[in-house]
């Protein structure tokens, strides 16, 4: 696993989709990082695990 991926896994890697993600499916990302595709879920996991979050916004044009 690359160093960056390892560091991202040490944090919770989350994309900031909302509760409306149920209606608009998240566009999943391939690769070695285990992304959480819902911000509130990511926040809950951060509370449970004590990890910081790495929150990413990406926009396809």
């Amino acid at each position: 696993m690359s160093r960056t991926a390892l560091l991202a896994a040490t944090m919770l890697a989350t994309t900031a989709t909302s509760l409306l993600a149920e209606k608009i499916p998240a566009q999943k990302v391939d690769g070695r990082i285990d992304w959480v595709y819902d911000y509130q879920r990511g926040r809950s996991l951060a509370k449970q695990t004590g990890k910081p979050m790495f929150v990413v916004f990406r926009c396809e044009r």
């Binding site: 209606k23 608009i24 910081p52 929150v55 990413v56 926009c59 044009r61």
Partner: protein, 327 residues
């Protein structure tokens, strides 16, 4: 961006990628992302991302979140759907996705409707380059270069300085600095704390009107809201095509490939025309820079001359922009 809390997640919405390091209480350690005019990945690279990740892990151990007046509280909640023009914007789409740039476009349109829009409002999230500071892309809290004759020179900032804070806000990245600059008025004195040769130095950047503007905002998706466009798309001629048409290398030479503007057709412009002058501009431009020209410099209802080449002849046409924006 559907349903995202904009009072918490504030960033340059013209970007295609942005990130935040946070704790579980909606507080921020650092921001990573942002760009210069030069390119979308000007400051995105593995080395700097890895570096800030390591820094954040250290801050997290000590619970050292960002504090201060530049940090959003996130206590209030405001979503993109609540920006008045947004509903009409996404109603026309099959896929109801709200993109990052839609947030800024809707915000600017709302200001325009209320007659509160000023053109410089498109220049959000300025970077340290606006002040004369080139940030090291790999170590984004370090000064790589200082441009002469700028606020940075006058403040005595030097290559190699490490930026500790701007206006009391910790700076680890370009995006951290840009966050502070976004919230800095057009005329201001901005305190910076630096580290140089092991010593802490405090200085002040004196900013006067116009510092937020950058030379080439053509990458900004929201630019079309603040001024009229030419209603066409095209491509630069390559070297061989220029030679054939006897057009010099550093001069404007854009071949029209697509027209969507009724005003463009009324001007008599056709697909295949080569544009060599737009109003008083004849320097080489990309198509985005070309389209940005009237958005930055003209207003709706203006008439400008355009010189073009068609089948070996050079001719001048007049383009009159629509009298009001067409959303």
């Amino acid at each position: 961006m559907n349903g995202i809390n904009l009072d918490l997640f504030q960033f340059e919405f013209d970007l295609t990628w942005m990130s935040f390091f946070m704790d579980a209480e909606n507080r921020f350690y650092a921001r990573y992302g942002g760009r210069e005019d030069s390119g979308p990945e000007s400051h995105l690279n593995r080395e700097s991302l890895t570096r800030v990740m390591n820094q954040v892990l250290g801050l997290h151990e000590k619970h050292q979140v960002q504090t201060g007046r530049h940090e959003p509280s996130g206590r209030s909640r405001r979503t993109p759907e609540q920006i008045p023009p947004m509903r009409a914007m996404i109603a026309k789409r099959k896929n109801k996705c709200i993109h990052c740039h839609d947030v800024k476009v809707a915000t600017l349109r709302d200001l325009r409707r209320g007659n509160r829009l000023r053109r410089e409002m498109v220049f959000t999230y300025p970077t340290p380059a606006n002040l004369g500071i080139a940030i090291d892309p790999q170590r984004q809290d370090h000064v790589e270069a200082v441009r002469p004759g700028t606020p940075a020179t006058r403040a005595g900032i030097r290559r190699g300085d490490r930026i500790i804070s701007a206006d009391g806000q910790r700076v680890l990245t370009l995006a951290d600095f840009s966050r502070v600059l976004e919230r800095t008025p057009s005329q201001a004195t901005l305190p910076l704390t630096l580290q140089r040769d092991g010593q802490s130095i405090t200085t002040r950047l004196r900013l006067s009107a116009g510092w937020r503007r950058t030379p080439d905002p053509s990458w900004r998706e929201s630019l079309h809201v603040v001024g009229p466009g030419c209603g066409l798309w095209g491509r630069r001629l390559n070297a061989k095509e220029r030679r054939r048409l006897k057009l010099p290398a550093r001069k404007l030479a854009l071949k029209v490939t697509f027209i969507w503007g009724p005003h463009t057709r009324r001007a008599g412009i056709r697909v295949g025309d080569v544009i060599v002058r737009l109003d008083n501009v004849d320097g080489d431009l990309t198509i985005k820079q070309f389209n940005a020209q009237p958005m930055l410099n003209n207003t709706w209802g203006d008439t400008i001359p355009i010189v073009l080449r068609r089948k070996g002849r050079e001719m001048t046409v007049k383009m009159t922009f629509p009298r009001q924006p067409v959303d």
